[in-house]
Amino acid sequence: MIRLLLPFLLALAFAGPAQAHKLKVFATVEAGEAKGYAFFIGGGRAAQTPWLARDPAGARIAEGTTDAEGCFAFPAPQPPADVTITVDTREGHVASATLPASRFGGVSVATVAETGLPPAGPAPGAAPLVTDARLAALVEAAVQRQVEPLMEQIEQLDSRLRLADVMSGIFLILGLAGIGLWARGRRR
């Protein structure tokens, strides 16, 4: 019995870390727009899936269907508020992510990001283009652009299956069986 199932079990155990099964939502704020995507840990994106954004009171802010890449986007709420984005695959997988109000920064980010980067040098004869507020907004946009890939990576690392965890689960089960056999042996 054990000899028969062990190869099968081992094959599954080593295939385990590659693929997994849980829906997650990644969401971030960029240029005054909340955007993100829904993905299965290790198993692709949730495409053509309804999503819904709500504020803390439960009122709908935006809703729609993810595109072929599982992405969604909607304008940041004004005034800034906590937003919870829920993705439901309509077959039992539901996941959500919350963007805190502080991530939406303020109005200036959106307006500045649209105008693009200011000219490299000061324009002759013109008033200084870059006020403190605009500079802050620009820095925020730039940092966001740089940090986003990292945040995605952290999200994926965080939910990665680790071989050590899979193995410890399997051996915990075998250990339980050993305890059961031992307890039965003692009673006799």
């Binding site: 099968f8 693929q19 299965f40 039992g92 539901v94 075998l174």
Partner: protein, 204 residues
């Protein structure tokens, strides 16, 4: 899919699932003897590892459940096997949740036990490999569809927000049912050839 997370189901569904699961586990534990304990542990480990391997299908992703195989090989001992594996998946990987442990156990184990009981006698008694293969495949497919139905039912009973759409459920569960049918039939046929005793949860 079969791992319903915390915070979606309503309290009556959670409690009902917990009660049914507890009854099933109690039935199953009474069945465990020296012969069954290692087998239960190995199938629990196979289910634990097997349901971590997901394959994307359509808008979702699916994984093997092995419920029918457990139902045929373990009988009611399927309940404790599934419970332990789901508990570890929830604790180690955050799949499913602790409050939904009972209802998830029922959703996965119950169809396996039921179809294992219905088709098990045919699989054990028949002399014809083709019939055994067909019965194994049928048990595998029906158990998956049963799980799909129970998951949909538990979501529907809890809240209208997350009610699954029938067409999407069928689109994702049908390929899984076919895969599961093949895997169950192949393992059952193999065991019947090399170790027929492994298909009997009760010692002859």
């Amino acid at each position: 899919m079969a791992h319903i997370p915390d915070g979606i189901l309503s309290a009556p569904v959670l409690i009902g699932g917990g009660v049914v699961a507890a009854a099933g586990v109690a039935l199953g534990l009474r069945r465990l003897d020296d012969r069954m304990i290692p087998r239960t542990a190995i199938l629990a480990a196979a289910f634990f590892a097997g349901s971590l391997v997901a394959v994307p299908v359509g808008p979702a992703s699916v994984h093997l459940l092995l419920a029918a195989l457990m139902g045929i090989m373990l009988g009611t001992a399927t309940f404790p096997a599934v419970l332990v594996a789901l508990l570890l998946q929830a604790l180690l990987f955050g799949f499913g949740g602790l409050t939904t442990l009972g209802i998830n156990t029922v959703n996965i184990a119950l169809p396996g036990v039921v179809f294992g009981m219905m088709l098990g006698p045919v699989i054990r008694a028949t002399e014809r490999p083709a019939l055994r293969f067909a019965a194994g495949a049928l048990a595998g497919a029906l158990a998956v569809l049963g799980t799909g139905g129970l998951v949909a039912l538990s979501l529907w009973m809890s809240s209208s927000d997350y009610t699954p759409v029938a067409s999407v459920v069928i689109a994702t569960y049908l390929p899984l049912a076919l895969g599961e049918a093949f895997v169950t039939a192949a393992i059952v046929s193999f065991l019947a050839r090399v170790q027929p005793d492994a298909l009997r949860p009760v010692a002859p």
